[in-house]
Symmetry: C3
């Protein structure tokens, strides 16, 4: 199992980890198999997109913010319930 | 493959199965690998949360109920469409 | 790894691939294991449902269309942002 840290600049953003995952796969020397990518942080999720057009990212983030608004009377005192729900 | 039953007291709730999964993993004797947890019921899903604060559970359940209301003109006669959709 | 193509008749629909996946599993000769099904298209997703009642499909599709409307001021020029988000 290989691990790496990811930093997020804001409370709702996408971070492209393709290169880092690709390097782990290349270094493993395995040519056919499943690379299982898991984020243990419960306020972060994983998605796959070809990222050919950056507006797809903003469309996804904007829509998610409409479905799960950042502030909306949540009880959880840390204030990050929206991130838990989206994740 | 190990199996166990989970009972749900209401139509929208969270049931902590961490201990039961941990026991299966411990009993397997495997020290590094992937534990694949699958729920065959199509009105139930799986999520991971550290459960440090119970309000995260209620915030998640309340928000899901807003996104997918229990009653909202669904056609499926069993009346559990919301659960199928959330799952 | 086995591959097959799936055609979608409209921009929001469900295509039952159970038989095709079952055939791949049967042909593999493997009796216990995990069949990992992956769709590389980033405007398509996978779900599991027993499909005993076709109205579950329409209830799911209708609700998803309410949560992520097909047209709603998205920026992505290809016009398929809703499909990216739903996927």
């Amino acid at each position: 199992m290989e691990q790496f840290d990811v930093r997020t600049p804001s409370h709702a953003c996408m971070v492209d980890i393709t290169d880092r995952v690709s390097r782990v796969v290349a270094d493993s020397g395995i040519e056919e198999g499943i690379c299982y990518v898991f984020v243990p942080h419960t306020t972060a999720g994983l998605t796959i997109n070809e990222n050919a057009d950056q507006t797809v990212q903003s469309d996804i983030l904007n829509r998610l913010d409409k479905i799960v608004p950042w502030r909306d009377g949540y009880e959880h005192a840390e204030g990050n319930s929206a991130a838990h729900i989206k994740a």
